[in-house]
Chain length 360, copies 4
């Protein structure tokens, strides 16, 4: 059982509401003697934090992380690491007008039906603000994996589709992704994307996105049959992110249209190194890593908070309508990039530890 | 930790290899006093069992289930239900020629890299034969849900894309699905599908498929934030099925291309009943069921065992090639329909019990 | 896996070191709509907090609890409740002299052997300071159980043996327990206990204790075969408390010496109410509550920090000796009473929710 | 959640009723490439099986184990190992007369109150017959630990108190334990024990026992704070055995009466080896193994099935009386020795794997 806990051997438990005093998480199972500083975590949080560009929400949050336990003299001790981020720029009164209404496409309605009570301020626990905790946990997982697997290990994510606009994935450039505010991997398309996204924002509308996350330098053997498959856990990890509606491993949904010949990635050795002619499998066979690049992509639906008036009901069962003003991302998918990277790091570390337990 | 166990409150643990003496599972957490007969389980197993038509593998297995515990005088007692299916039609010698080679696209290579040992006969534990155990567990979940939720509750799956051929989902017909051997929901396309699949088989090739599973009569409120979201668990469930590479909830990957207006399903009350104008969300908002139909689809890649010669390596690291004869499904996706239904039933029961524990 | 998490459906995860900035816990699985105030938790924490009498350590801690999430307008929302207690009266320099030495009977040695690093200040994570978090979680469990089971439900603990001095358990008086600083249930023995404990303290020595915790008003049916037995979980709960070395259910270790006739508690009905002639079972049969009073007792070993010089080694492997001054409880068992009560409340709520899920 | 599953990384799930067709278990998480034969398991089962002497029940069961999966060519493959034991000597009609009555001291009453249905034949799931599955799982754990830790590792249990008769534990002799039918460690007391037990049996009464289990050659560092303490898991393991009412680690309940000086085991190095002057801690400090011998003892209550007439009620709520004839152990504690050893092996392996995951 794990309502608010993710992971098996490397576990994190998140807590906190969008407009409560703070959010945070407890990271359990971190190996001892790993160098961990608040700044290691802050770097990752800064990628996700709001208010950084005209393309995201204008809510201003430093997202300053505090380590409250589990680190002694700069190194992990093997005991739980408690992280807290204080909320600052809440404007709860913005939500007064919609406190009794359910926003279509939002979790307002289902939370109320489930619990009979909900903290409506800023979406409460439903808010994607929870994902800051994941990014913080992911930063710790990243440090551990870099320590254990060395320089060749790297996780990097990007937006590969922005609303109706795709990009040329073969032009993927890690460095370029870091340099643009849309986490776009393809320099040739960026101007078009920016123009498109500004027009979406101006019209008070929103758009979806596809995010792709790649992991390199992952040894073969991570993952486990049958109900701890690496791809199963990655699918769960990505689907647990707010607004995600689909997850692909490698060729994903498209693999339905491939022939057996197209799909099966041929294997050959060159010296002692095992190579593959293609990577339809996304680096995972039978739930276990093959040593190829692990490739996961997921779709984020458009932000539900839009300016157009939409039909809905209120908590008393009356028909009404709603139009959401206030501070919102025109495309929540953009800030999902560091979240996807964090989840990838957490799942990989979890499986690294499981593999070490059973097979080393 | 749950290498071979699925679920939280309703849990099943599967075991067994393709060519071992038997396969089976232990179902734990079944509520007491539910009427359960071997025939209830057999009906579901018969949908999945091999050798039933020219469209599937010719391996002949009765897949006769035996209940060894947990049922007394026709009713569940609340204690674990042990189910066993004896294997019969094994031809292990068929696998002698490939026992040291890794089939591209198969888990041969990764199992060997992970464990340093593997039962190669019929794929051993990697074999989709394991899924018979899931179907058996799912049959029990179905009985419980029907008892608790009544007649309005129903789970039904179908193949909605066969290789390169789609179908018209708006023509979905539950009764027709039961009547054709391809679990096709659209009568107008069946002839074309059959012709296509026979040509795939004759050429020694294979094709993928997309399966869609729908659940009706699910009350709102099932699911839980954040790391027990209903869609997260469904994604994990489906991705754990052999050869699955992608999972969609509702509009899934396509939701990236929708505008906020298109995507947000408007809500209105008609009398006391809550309705939605559309179902892009696939019946799940914020990880919690909304009372709408739950819609999950997943892609199954083409069977890896094909006649064409493919480059590969053997367990000693030598380059070689492989061509797989023997008994194989030209499209493993077809028999994935009852498996997807079973996983849906298991996840829904698990969440039904969790909701009862916390919120009722 | 649950290094720092306790419970299944009602779960809490604790974090924090004795001399870190704070300690705390995240309570997950609390039902919604339960009235919870910080003062409900503070009442229980005040029973455990140090520095309250001459019989306990002189470290001064307010143990002021802060609720950071999961409670909205005075009621639980069903989302995780994060609790934090800031540390105040740390004197870390007291520990400088022993930072490289292992105190015999303490976890210093084993933590160092396990992790290769440890926060030695005040015992770090080994410190019983962690138990404040349990008491806080237990206070929430108590509120839920009182709401669900009503007035008849009550958990009460007492010290029944103080070092070499027992008491007359037949004189157990709930009200008297609350009124004395030793949680003694037997008014006739208190003077002797106080005198004894002061002499132990003066001599720089320490003594052990036995704590008994009783739960009344627990309905029959809580608990579950085989590996979620109520007594199994209670044994685990109590053994997880610092310095506990033995746990009894009902007659406990003494049941070895009873005859079958003496041991089997006869059953009879009086009107509709089921009664038992005795309670050797401690209210639990086959791991399931019988409706009788649940009786658990556990032994707490003497405080390891004593004035006498003891032989030990340091972290470099050299033989040395140690004598511990500073602020310590002469009998840590006394402050274990509210901890035992808290663990009882948490285990009972967990099983109450499990029973509701499977059997109601 | 784990109603019928024990363990975290090394897990076993048991199933089966006393008079059902079979009992068994699924062992998950066994490392690959461990030599495992049915005879390795059979040796341990033979220690526990009934009908072997005049001191135990006369029910005859071969307890012949069958491995159905997870072992290939004599070695574990890392996949789940399914074990089954068919029941043979059931005399269900013996239970007809008591099928509606609740035996005092038995779980009859509580199972019925919980589930509203129960398989009364031979106690159904409540029967200690379930423990055969644990012994089988323990045999596998033992093989793994012997492979990983080498010859110095050994677990051995004995009966140290039989009803009102103790023994001289300082005379503990591993070899002697194996040679007598009462698992007595002290040759000087055996005649008295035998005489006593026969008289108990003749009178139709029963007696309890204390079992002590010791583990040698366990490295320091196994165990984990706070809620996966080694002693916590051992307490849970032993308390989960049928009829166990108390568990001690090292000095156990007696530690309450020790002074701080008596209790703290002094440490000294002799060469590179760390030694302790005493072992009140039972080899565990702060929940982590110290490298000393691990010593756990537990009390088993007298068999509830006795000849004397006892007051009870039936399932319709009527007062009645009961006298149990049939085949029963006069002291169930005796056959608990191999069960205690099995649980010790399972817990140690589980923690060995956890330690390897996090700290190696």
């Amino acid at each position: 059982m794990s309502f608010n806990t993710f992971g098996k051997l490397f576990r994190f438990t998140t807590w906190g509401e969008s407009h409560g005093p703070a959010i945070g998480c407890v990271v359990d199972g971190c190996p001892p003697n790993i160098s961990i500083k608040e700044s290691d975590i802050q770097i990752e949080l800064n990628k996700r934090k709001p208010g950084q560009s005209k393309f995201t929400t204008q809510r201003k949050e430093d997202d300053k992380v505090n380590i409250l336990s589990g680190v002694f003299e700069g190194r992990s001790t093997g005991t739980p690491i408690s992280l807290v981020i204080y909320n600052k720029d809440m404007r709860s009164r913005d939500y007064e007008t919609i406190k009794n209404k359910f926003r279509p496409g939002h979790a307002d309605y289902t939370y109320f039906k489930k619990y009979g009570i909900r903290d409506y301020r800023g979406g409460g626990r439903q808010s994607a603000r929870e994902t800051a905790s994941r990014v913080a946990a992911g930063a710790i997982a990243k440090k551990v994996l870099e320590t254990k697997l060395g320089k060749k290990f790297k996780v990097v994510g990007a937006v590969t589709q922005l609303g109706i606009l795709g990009c040329d994935v073969s032009k993927w450039n890690d460095n370029y992704i870091k340099k643009n505010q849309l986490f776009c991997p393809d320099k040739s398309i960026i101007k078009l994307w920016e123009k498109y996204l500004l027009s979406v924002r101006k019209s008070g509308s929103s758009c979806g996105a596809i995010i792709e996350v790649r992991a390199r330098g992952v040894p073969p053997g991570l993952g486990a049959p049958i109900y701890s498959k690496l791809d199963m856990d990655l699918a769960a990890a990505m689907m647990s992110i707010n607004a995600v509606k689909g997850v692909n491993i490698g060729s994903g949904m498209n693999s339905a249209q491939l022939s057996g010949e197209q799909n099966s990635d041929e294997i050959f050795n060159k010296g002692k190194k095992t190579n593959f002619n293609s990577n339809n499998a996304g680096g995972i066979l039978g739930g276990i890593s093959s040593g190829q690049e692990i490739v996961v992509s997921f779709a984020v639906k458009p932000t539900s908070s839009i300016l157009s008036s939409r039909k809905t009901i209120d908590k008393f069962g009356k028909n009404t309508s709603i139009s959401v003003k206030g501070r919102h991302d025109p495309c929540v998918g953009i800030r999902a990039v560091p979240i996807g990277e964090a989840m990838m790091n957490c799942v990989l570390l979890d499986h690294y530890l499981m593999h070490k337990a059973q097979c080393k």
